[in-house]
């Protein structure tokens, strides 16, 4: 059942979906590929591959500048993705969608432009103890260059945001911005976005979500969330690499100075003075990732055709199954027991380094990630150097999770 609508959730036709992803038929090291690393980067459906190839074969030219047929067609296809994103996120207008190259660039754009242009020295930025480095380092750079204070909201042992401690960070009224993950790439925790926004706004602070993981697993409605900025990347949502998205309220984009200077982001240039293009182009200097933008449009179409309710239900069932199966593997510690979570499970095996676990799984055709997951401060909070992580996509099956559990049993017999 779908919790929101009360209607039965449509089951995914996994055989059909898996047939849409050519790579899933590959063998690795002589074994059937079990790809459990979608949180690092997801695989691409045929529709995305074809959209990019077709664009190159039939209508490719630079965008926004050509007066010829090819450029006009390419611009239409590229800009159509902006419309699709606006619908996907329920943005108030397409002008609120800024193309970047990835989430990292989107976060840096806010840190640089809003951070230096609007935040004042002495104000504070709040992050959490479960951020990806991409949502830590830009704020440290802003702190060092611009004199803002960086505050870190702690998490509970279950891997959830400690809401009382979070709210206490606002007591002195100096917080100007909350920059926080909407879903942890390590723990799978979905943070309580509406409560975060309510608390932040009550104290006059804006909210930026790093939605790199969340948008893969949940429908994102920025107007319902009430947030101010939302960053994500195309390659985790079954699209190509090299294309990311920053959504921001239009009035904030208007207020913010440009990030990078160059072509495409100007209205007129003289040596004395340059005036900026209107939003969002003010933030889109240089030739963009044209083919990747077109590919992302195809990825959004693909995801929308399946529908988030079905995707979320499928992944919730996978997570439940994975937690049950992995909990039964002796010596395995699972990190993060949040109530609200997406398709990511991190774990460690007693007596075995995460890299050895990952290599021994790889030898069995099972792809997981191992390491600090670009979240070293979180590793320290968890008291480990590294973890292994299995992450799921809409094409992941229960059989693959069973294969992971069986694979881990083999690894354990190695190290036991």
């Amino acid at each position: 059942m779908n919790a929101e609508t009360g209607r039965p959730t449509p089951d995914l036709d996994l055989d059909r979906i898996r047939a849409d992803f050519p790579i899933l038929a590959q063998e690795v090291r002589g074994k059937k590929l079990v790809f459990l690393d979608s949180a690092a980067s997801a695989q691409k459906p045929r529709a995305v591959i074809d959209a990019m190839v077709t664009a190159m074969e039939t209508q490719y030219a630079n965008v926004h500048r050509g007066l010829h047929w090819m450029s006009e067609r390419t611009t239409e296809a590229y800009e159509a993705t902006r419309d699709k994103i606006a619908v996907l996120m329920n943005a108030a207008s397409r002008e609120e969608i800024v193309f970047t190259h990835n989430s990292t660039e989107a976060l840096n754009l806010v840190a640089h432009s809003y951070g230096r242009g609007v935040l004042r020295p002495g104000q504070a930025v709040v992050i959490s103890d479960m951020e990806h480095h991409s949502n830590i380092v830009p704020w440290q750079m802003l702190r060092d260059a611009h004199g803002i204070e960086l505050r870190v909201a702690p998490i509970t042992d279950a891997g959830e945001l400690d809401m009382a401690a979070f709210e206490a960070l606002f007591a002195d009224g100096r917080v100007g911005l909350v920059a926080i993950t909407h879903m942890s790439n390590v723990l799978g925790t979905l943070t309580p976005a509406e409560r975060i926004v309510a608390i932040a706004h009550a104290h006059g602070a804006k909210v930026l979500f790093d939605g790199s993981q969340a948008i893969v697993h949940r429908a994102i409605d920025v107007q319902a969330l009430g947030c101010d900025f939302y960053a994500w990347t195309g390659h985790k949502l079954y699209g190509p690499t090299g294309i990311g998205v920053l959504w921001a309220r239009r009035e904030l984009l208007e207020e913010m100075p440009p990030f990078l200077g160059g072509g495409d982001m100007i209205s007129s240039v003289t040596y004395a003075k340059t005036s900026w293009a209107a939003v969002p182009h003010k933030f889109e200097a240089g030739t963009p990732a044209i083919l990747e933008g077109i590919g992302l449009g195809a990825a959004i179409d693909y995801v929308q055709a399946i529908g988030y309710p079905a995707i979320a239900a499928h992944e919730a069932a996978l997570v439940e199954h994975a937690l049950a199966r992995l909990s039964a593997v002796p010596g395995l510690t699972i990190f993060g027991r949040a109530q609200q979570r997406g398709g990511v499970v991190s774990f460690a095996m007693a007596g075995a380094h995460a890299h050895d676990v990952a290599t021994l799984l790889d030898r069995q055709g099972i792809a997981v990630r191992a390491g600090h997951h670009c979240a070293e401060p979180l590793m320290r909070r968890l008291g480990v150097d590294s973890t292994a992580r299995a992450s799921f996509g809409l094409y992941t099956t229960r059989d693959e999770i069973d294969a992971l559990a069986a694979g881990l049993e083999k690894v354990r017999s190695f190290f036991a």
């Binding site: 075995a352 380094h353 995460a354 890299h355 050895d356 290599t359 021994l360 790889d362 030898r363 069995q364 191992a370 390491g371 600090h372 070293e376 590793m379 150097d385 590294s386 049993e409 083999k410 017999s413 190695f414 190290f415």
Partner: protein, 163 residues
């Protein structure tokens, strides 16, 4: 043979007995009481870290090597086998062995394996040759060697730390 045991055999190409044994029970995995130089190696990809301690004999050859490591079985086993094989060597010979070892774990080939003086040592390092099938793990196998290389650089520059 059970299916499970058959599956384990597959995994032995990289994780041979000697690698598992040295990874778990390194012979040289401690900070020695006396050493002349030390250097650290970090693998930012996984957070692994090794510190290598080297003492020289009066003739300038490597007398003892010890290490402290936080890492995977491959990196610890490699550090331990390195300590075995460079002991007694002049620094230049230890570096030549590193070059040959690095070639072996990167490519799986060992053109130096017939070289006089290195053949026996490279045979002892052979269990790690399987790493070449796993490019992301080559750094694990060479981490301690890089630290040793840095320690030898210090010695060459006359930067001994104790004694």
């Amino acid at each position: 043979m059970s299916d499970s045991a058959a599956g384990l055999d597959d995994l032995r190409d990289l994780y041979q007995e000697v690698v598992m044994d040295r990874g778990r029970h390194p012979r040289h995995g401690a900070r020695p009481a006396r050493f002349d130089v030390s250097a650290r190696g970090d693998n930012p990809m996984c957070g692994d870290r090794v510190e290598v301690f080297v003492a020289f004999d009066p003739q300038g050859a490597i007398e003892t090597v010890g290490f402290e490591a936080r890492g995977c079985a491959i990196s610890i086993a490699s550090a331990d086998l390195m300590a075995d094989t460079v002991t007694g060597r002049a620094p230049a010979d230890a570096r030549a062995l590193f070059a040959a070892f690095r070639e072996m774990v990167k490519t799986g080939h060992c053109p130096a394996c017939d070289r006089a003086g290195d053949a026996a040592a490279l045979e002892r390092l052979q269990p790690l040759a399987g790493v070449h099938e796993y490019p992301s793990r080559v750094k694990c196998a060479t981490l301690a060697w890089h630290a040793l290389d840095a320690a030898l650089d210090q010695a060459a520059e006359g930067k001994g730390v104790t004694r």
